[in-house]
Symmetry: C2
Subunit: 401 residues, 2 copies
């Protein structure tokens, strides 16, 4: 069967990348882990120890590199010299050998950099349930150590080396008062065949202690990476790291300048659902609490009925509102109003007399906004989701494990 | 685009139907509510007052007929003479006029049968947000009252009149020790374009008091109708009624004989997802409690990644197990084993060396069983789900409100 493939969106590269942050060098090399021959070992190194905080998958089957990196962050007190990443193999569901292999990757980098092993973190992404080809990994690590550099091209090679099924490279940056905030990530909205692993690395040259990063990161993640609906599926390997090379004094509101970079990266992930044609941002307001708002937004975002309506540009208020009506967190459903791309389609328990053709036309956008307004309290939340079309089924049904 | 439509399954009619239950008569007529001209008013009447218990949608936007029928059951103490049903219009999100129209439907039947209005229940299914065409409804009710009969054909006409997007009529029956248990229902797995309303009517001639029915019905529903995954979507109108015409003394374990009829009806609903090619029964065992098991099973059943793998006959253990790994109810994920159609594909945190081709072949069945075994405790649960294929997207994206 011939399924039309929606055009792959392209985005201009960001002005800066990770290596634009003072003190960072990077590499991305071909180690042969991927059958395609694409780059598959990435290395990020700081001249001096940097501060680091992380957010990791909650999945019970968290992969060996996730467990090891979490342990290293604890043991090092959030002081890190390097991050070694491989793509093409997730080193997940690989038993005791997987734990050994992850440790060996860190040890090899630590030896070369002459730093304690707990100052090296490791991330893996790719197929699960298959042991790492360690001969290739070792060669790749040595090559990356030899080739690392601090120019923009080296940063872009790092980004290329962490990608798997991504349709395009994902980076974002900002500058503020002489400091740089840059980030790269990999991951596809909700559809990467196996588990849609998300890896994200953000760095700044602001002088921030690990404790400061750790306090701020959950809040930054909540409205950005954790607001991307990933098919109810957090993977075995999801990792978000925030790094500080400690070169420039930070302003008090530094986190406020990091969040837009994280939000742009998260949007790029949501947009990269195979077959996705848009990103829909669902804004719930007036819920009894922020937690209630998040639960309601997630329920709407995860509905296959809602997501197919978004794909079909169908202003189907019945599907949106009935998901709200199903949420146990809702108190006064009859006060619900529903605004789609600025058009009020539902108010006080009944549909409005809106112009369906105009609403459908307004849905044919790269960015769609669906506002769901309750009157239960001050709670609000944002979730980003991609639509569900023919290509989604093709990618996921015809992919074979 | 040309999407292959999977063959519509057909099932032989049940041996008996509702009118086989002693004391019941029925009608199904064309009132013109449906543009198609198909039957759209159904009436079920008992010679003498019967016992009745119901399970209704939890949706905050419960339709007018649902609210009224719940109130009537309370006021009548579960003593009922008739049920009036219309299809083609759900009388949901219709404001105060909707409440009036539902009441008028009950009043019209009560007047003809010379019974208190609270002894008449009403159900509606179809498009939401549109007022009922009451002229047509009145004419249809009068016609149904005039035509009602107690032969099998009258029962089948009732069934035809409650259907909406159903691909085939759904009925099931059993006989035990001189009594009949019969049921009919309408509803499609998870995909009826607007809200997949489920209406189910089950009746027995066993002599059961309303209190007995009320006590047993939630347990019967839990493993049958409430075990069908409906896209996280309970509709505005979902209604299950269990009726007793009180003619034959019941055995003590009567509920045990009702459950298989309910289970068959639920399976027929799960099988009728537009584009579905099979029903997958997900059995979770060894969870910390039955509630935990249900939550885990629902999480697996609702995953679009799992459902596309089922459509593609892909024994993708990674998708199944990582949904379990995401469930907060799981305590010891590493003990998980996963058995697909009798083939163990995952054990103790790692995939087994199973034969992928054989497992894929085994998935090409009308009934697929996926067992997920934990060792957290005695909790178990069953959920039925349908697969998600191209036709699902077509039906739901190209349907226009």
């Amino acid at each position: 069967m011939s399924i039309p493939v929606p055009p792959v969106p392209s985005f201009p590269p960001a002005e800066f990348t990770l290596t634009s942050v003072k003190g960072l060098s990077a590499a991305g090399v071909r180690a042969g882990i991927k059958a395609s021959g694409n780059p598959d070992i990435g290395l990020l190194v700081s001249d001096k120890p940097m501060s680091c905080a992380g957010v990791f998958t909650q999945n019970h089957f968290a992969a060996a590199p996730v467990l090891l990196s979490k342990a290293h962050l604890v043991r090092s007190g959030g002081v890190v010299r390097a991050i070694i990443v491989n793509s093409g193999n997730a080193n997940a569901c690989t038993g005791a050998q997987g734990d050994k292999d992850a440790l060996e990757m860190c040890e090899r980098v630590a030896r070369a950099l002459e730093c304690p092993v707990e100052q090296v973190l490791v991330c893996s992404t790719g197929v699960i349930g298959v042991k790492l080809p360690m001969d290739k990994v070792r060669t790749g690590i040595d090559l990356a150590l030899a080739e690392r550099a601090s120019d923009v091209e080296a940063g872009r090679r790092f980004l290329a080396a962490i990608m798997t099924t991504d349709a395009y490279p994902k980076e974002a940056c900002a500058q503020y008062a002489g400091a740089t905030i840059a980030g790269v990530c990999k991951g596809a909205g909700m559809i990467e065949p196996n588990m849609a692993t998300m890896l994200a690395f953000m760095a700044t040259d602001w002088d921030l202690r690990a404790e400061q990063l750790k306090r701020a990161l959950p809040g930054i993640a909540a409205n950005t990476f954790n607001a991307v609906h990933v098919d109810t599926h957090t993977s075995t390997n999801d990792t978000l790291l925030l790094l500080s090379t400690r070169a420039v004094p930070p302003p008090n509101d530094w986190a406020r300048h990091v969040e837009p970079v994280a939000r742009r990266l998260a949007w790029l992930i949501a947009r990269d659902g195979e077959g996705a044609t848009k990103v829909t941002t669902i804004e719930v307001s007036g819920a009894s609490s922020d937690e209630a708002a998040k639960a309601i937004a997630r329920r709407v975002a995860s509905s296959a009925l809602v997501r197919t309506a978004l794909f079909g540009n169908d202003p189907n208020w019945g599907r949106f509102t009935s998901q709200v009506g199903n949420a146990p967190q809702v108190r006064h459903a009859r006060s619900l109003s529903c605004v789609l791309q600025g058009i009020e389609v539902f108010r006080g328990g009944e549909p409005t007399a809106f112009d369906r053709a105009a609403a459908s036309k307004a849905m044919q956008a790269e960015d769609v906004k669906l506002e769901l307004k309750l009157s239960d309290g001050p709670g609000k939340a944002i979730v980003m989701t991609s639509d569900l079309g023919y290509r989604y089924v093709q990618v996921n049904a015809e992919y074979t494990t």
